[in-house]
Amino acid sequence: MSRWLTEGLLTHKPTTAYPARPESTAGISPGLPVPSSELTGQALEQLVSMCRVGALSKEKNTLGFDDGRCIHCMRCKGKSPKELEWDDSYEWARLTKLGEKNLAKLSASFKASLYIRTIDAGACAACLTEISLLAGPNYNMHRLGFFMTPTPRKADVLLVSGPVTDHMRDHLLEAYDSMPEPKRVIAVGACAMTGGVFGPSFTCAAGLSDMIPVDVVVPGCPPPPLALLHALLVLTGRKQQAEKIRALGSDRS
């Protein structure tokens, strides 16, 4: 066993400096398009028609963007006559109206240490991979006081990914009901926010918000681990939420 101990000690510490400092290593985020008021006319029309999921829209002759629908299909990236601005950051999480109200009521102890239960409500497993990396050395969420728990009965936060399939609905509700108060919910990714490419349909809901109250939403398909860390920090009031500009054209709260 001492061999493994040495191995661990000899390994360079890869943990990100976020949230103390922004992380800028290449490959940590797929980025999101930035709605810009400068795009008009034909260029605007062309961009909107390129978007097959309704994330980009035309609003009063400017470009609207619904981050809950964007699935990083990359079809609008670098393809328009006038370049669409692309934001490579990862601080995407937003509070819902309920989340804002709930945040004010949070006690200090809740902010410092949280237990999280992840629920797969029909996710493609990319979201789950990103969530599982949170506990790995690169993101090491334990240093920030976040821990996974196997049981919802001990969980403070429910981290839900997937469009909520018909078969998972009752299990999700059961898990939510068995959490102690105060409890918070984070909708992870486009699927959990709007149903993504799968819902609403005969098998899937249009995301989570019709079923249980949601405090924080994280856009992305999937949201990278840093976006998930940001969501946890926003939930506990330790970081500012994403600027509202992303949410142009959507008032999902």
Binding site: I119, G122, A126, P200, F202
Partner: protein
């Protein structure tokens, strides 16, 4: 290559009509009367040792077209076809002879309302019990945009048969269990210390993507193919694009082929590293799990540098690739991948010298070669029991034009340790393939100029990280998808999962699960 198969069929099954269809790809079709189906399929599977790929059910305006797809390691492919009038929904089950077709028939029974006569167990499979009786979502009359009234799920589901003996009990695990896990239910039956049987119940994540695709443009269905199983997205889009390219008879530029190979192998490396990370974590070997997790993150970052997306979304497109990548970036990605490869060799060396780790893998989750074949298991799980099946070699496609020299690692033991060695070994093979691809990568365009597809039907396949995947696509004149059928490796391997989870100590369950490297999303669709 098909000649010997043709001769065999005409010599032994005179009543079966053989037809060759040429539409970009040559498909050998054998049309059967329902009465001959079972014996013919048995002969192909048991005597001719062909592999079972999948069952494709299509509902046209006037008839059912039901196809069992078989293929052989030597490159033959055969579609066994039965036509039935629409009013007739009963046909013979081949599952009693071709066990690999078991789950396919159960699925078709649930989704189309077909009855497979002689099948030992139908009902409650893809659609769980609470769906209204007579709902058959894949029928053309079913409206996929409607949301069904929420039925209450029974919380006390039990398998049809349970052990009855003094002190026996069934322990449910799931559908929500462990720290971060995909939703699935496992019923573990035990009479004391040891677990005797495991009964998995899947499809908690069924999203009905085959139905959602109907009537959509192929370009939009691509988004579904990319996202239904995020951990093998490139392999699935590759299979789907290849089906569409066959329909449209689109020539793929040589550079695109070469890049597709590079990226597909990059995805395989990332998938296997991720599987190894989970395996180390399941044995609670924290340092090894952390090391593997660092490498997994590194592979994700490399994928993102290359394509702009950590899971390679948005890269494949019908007709080639959506983007070209500069030479320099390829070199950098290859070099860093090789560094990961080197660190994995080191990890492997350390793991194979840790006896407490080996104790938990050796002789755990053993699958015999015979059982694996009967269940038509695929990918690393099958290669760990000595089945040298790999679509890159058996049915060389697109970028793998001549892959007869491809090294396919196999092991004989069929236990968790053998599967782990396969994962490690395949990573090194993939790295070599990436290197070779880059050395010979031609210049030129990365996408065909015209990628329009008209009416047609074709089968596309690729060797996904978990095993061979098949995509059957039929389109109309406008290029809209009429039918999309997926045969995924996880579906085949979950069918055989119970083989690995018999007569074991309870604490080995997470290890067996992790060593199989299965995806629930890929199976549930």
């Amino acid at each position: 290559m098909q000649d010997s198969l043709k001769e065999f069929i005409s010599a032994n099954f005179a009543r079966i009509e053989l037809q060759e269809h040429k539409n970009g790809q040559t498909i050998l079709e054998a049309e059967c009367q329902p009465g001959d189906l079972v014996e013919f399929c048995r002969c192909l599977f048991c005597d001719q040792h062909m592999y079972y790929a999948m069952l494709v059910v299509e509902e046209s305006a006037e008839q059912w077209i039901i196809k069992h797809v078989f293929y052989a390691p030597s490159g033959e492919m055969l579609h066994v076809l039965v036509r039935l009038p629409l009013a007739q929904t009963i046909l013979p089950s081949i599952a009693t002879q071709v066990h690999a077709a078991d789950w396919h028939e159960r699925e078709a029974e649930d989704l189309f309302g077909l009855t497979f006569e002689g099948h030992p167990r139908l009902g409650d499979f893809v659609l769980h019990d609470h769906w209204p009786e007579g709902t058959n979502p894949m029928r053309s009359s079913f409206d996929a945009s409607q949301s069904l009234p929420p039925g209450k799920q029974a919380s006390d589901w039990q398998p049809i048969r349970l052990l009855e003996s003094e002190g026996s009990f069934a322990m449910p695990i799931g559908p929500i269990y462990s720290d971060v896990s995909e939703s699935a239910l496992f019923v573990l039956e035990t009479v004391g210390e040891d677990v005797l049987r495991t009964i998995p119940r899947l499809f908690y994540k069924h999203r009905g993507i085959e139905k959602l695709a109907e009537g959509q443009k192929a370009h939009d269905v691509l988004l579904l193919a990319e996202r239904f199983s995020g951990t093998a997205s490139f392999a699935h889009t590759l299979a789907f694009c290849r089906a569409m390219e066959t329909i449209g008879q689109i020539q793929i530029p040589a550079r695109a082929q070469s890049i597709r190979l590079f990226v597909a192998e990059l995805e395989r490396v990332r998938h296997h590293v991720s599987a190894l990370a989970k395996l180390c974590a399941s044995t609670a070997l924290a340092v090894a799990a952390s090391q593997a997790s660092i490498l997994e993150e590194q592979m994700l970052r490399l994928s993102c540098k290359l394509s702009g997306h950590r899971f390679l979304f948005g890269m494949n497109t019908i007709g080639g690739l959506s983007m070209d990548i500069p030479e320099e970036l390829f070199r950098q990605v290859l070099q860093e991948s090789q560094e990961v490869g080197g660190r994995l060799l080191r990890l492997r060396r350390k793991l194979t010298r840790t006896s407490s780790f080996l104790d938990r893998l050796q002789d755990v989750g053993v699958i015999s070669q015979q059982d694996a074949r009967a269940h038509a298991m695929l990918g690393p799980a099958a290669r760990a029991c000595g089945i040298s099946m790999d679509l890159r070699q058996a049915l060389p496609y697109g970028p793998y034009g001549d892959a007869s020299s491809l090294h396919i690692p196999t092991e004989q033991e069929g236990d968790g340790y053998a599967r782990m060695r396969i994962f490690f070994e395949e990573i090194q093979v993939s790295l070599q393939l990436m290197k070779d691809a880059l050395e010979t990568m031609p210049k030129g365009p990365v996408a065909a100029e015209n990628a329009d597809c008209g009416a047609g039907a074709a089968l596309g396949w690729s060797e996904a990280p978990g095993g061979g995947t098949f995509h059957w696509v039929r389109t109309d004149e406008e290029g809209k998808v009429l039918r999309w059928r997926l045969g995924t490796p996880s579906f085949a391997n979950w069918h055989g999962f119970h083989l690995a989870a018999e007569k074991f100590a309870f604490q080995d369950f997470p290890i067996i699960l992790a060593s199989m490297g299965l995806s629930v999303a890929e199976s549930d669709r």
